[in-house]
Symmetry: C2
Subunit: 214 residues, 2 copies
């Protein structure tokens, strides 16, 4: 059914990566819905609508299955942010990129929420499994770097206060986006509230609107 037509370089067998991604998607749904406790081989098979033997065929151990799950989660948010960035005009400024990425995190879209909740469910594993830790937290540096760059640019443009520490401000911006994203995903606050707070902060730090430069 799924491989009745194909154009890949390996036509003789099914698309292994696609199968694994399908199962990893089921892992994410379960993890987001009720935590990693609910993720068993049988539950994943049932969620994906396949047999348990299939799950075992594509993942040698449960640990490997969970690792593919968290990797898919990160690919999903990257993809969603990437899609949003393609809606921006070419050569968009770093600030536009930053605001677009944060808007996606706080957007309260079901898939974004699912990925965030699933990620949080993996936090405990990150303490035990170094690979999970790396997948979950490894990309933080570049995000902070982007935010710091935006602050520096705003300073160079004379919009932001030159007394600001770009590194600290970048760290604050992403920590804030992180915290608000989790709050939205877990229903502690609304998307509108979170976005309003985030925009308020960015506007103040980056000096948008009626704000006299130094």
């Amino acid at each position: 059914m799924r491989s009745h037509c194909y154009a890949g370089p390996v036509p003789r067998k099914v698309d292994i990566d696609a199968q694994r991604a399908d199962l990893a998607g089921a892992v994410l749904r379960l993890a987001a819905r009720s935590g990693l406790e609910a993720v068993s081989l049988r539950e994943v098979a049932a969620e994906a609508g396949v047999s348990m033997g299939r799950v075992q065929h594509y993942f040698r151990t449960k640990e490997e299955m969970l690792l593919h799950g968290v990797r898919l989660a990160m690919r999903r948010i990257d993809a969603r942010i990437g899609e949003r960035l393609q809606c921006l005009p070419d050569e968009a400024s770093p600030e536009q990129i930053l605001r677009a990425a944060i808007d996606e995190l706080l957007g309260d879209h079901p898939e974004t929420n699912q990925v965030i909740r699933a990620s949080v469910a993996y936090y405990a594993r990150a303490q035990v499994n170094a690979e999970v830790f790396e997948v979950l937290f490894g990309d933080d540096d570049e995000l902070r770097g982007l935010a710091a760059l935006v602050v520096r640019t705003a300073q160079a443009d004379g919009r932001a206060d030159t007394g600001l520490d770009p590194a600290q401000e970048g760290y604050i911006i992403w920590s804030l986006a992180d915290s608000l994203g989790v709050k939205v995903a877990f229903g502690q606050t609304t998307s509108e509230r979170a976005r309003a707070t985030m925009h308020y902060h960015l506007d103040r730090v980056l000096g948008c609107g009626a704000h006299p430069g130094v």
Copy 2:
């Protein structure tokens, strides 16, 4: 052994609350170490060094045991913050209270870390169990209120920019403290780094140090 001497108003039986708190402590240790997946009746009994029958005697169901666990977690942080506040001089300012509370959250003390990690482990349950949700997130409003009060006070004192929105700034302060506390507890950053960022932010918003008022 445990009730050879007592002074309570009910001398005829053991201290039920103390027993439950002892078991709930074992729940927290397990949850903080490897998530709620690792919390089973048998594991809790083993962690507490008692029989499984004892655990069942004090908690009718696993759900009830978990609920006592998260309640103990919240009482623990409240107690730790309370202890820290007692080290402050009498009639300490709201700002001193705020800074002390945040310092405790970012202090990287083992017990604080344990409580934070355990709390995060409960996030998934909060979506299913309304009681857990309330225990975990119910106190957010008053914390935000304290932070907002501090901002308003700083504005009244002429230290903080009167253009600031106290409610938004209070929300930002606590979201930031929340995020940084989790990062410290899960080893994403160091206590020193988090505290430096938090103090940097508070000093800027509240206008401490060499900062000209409006």
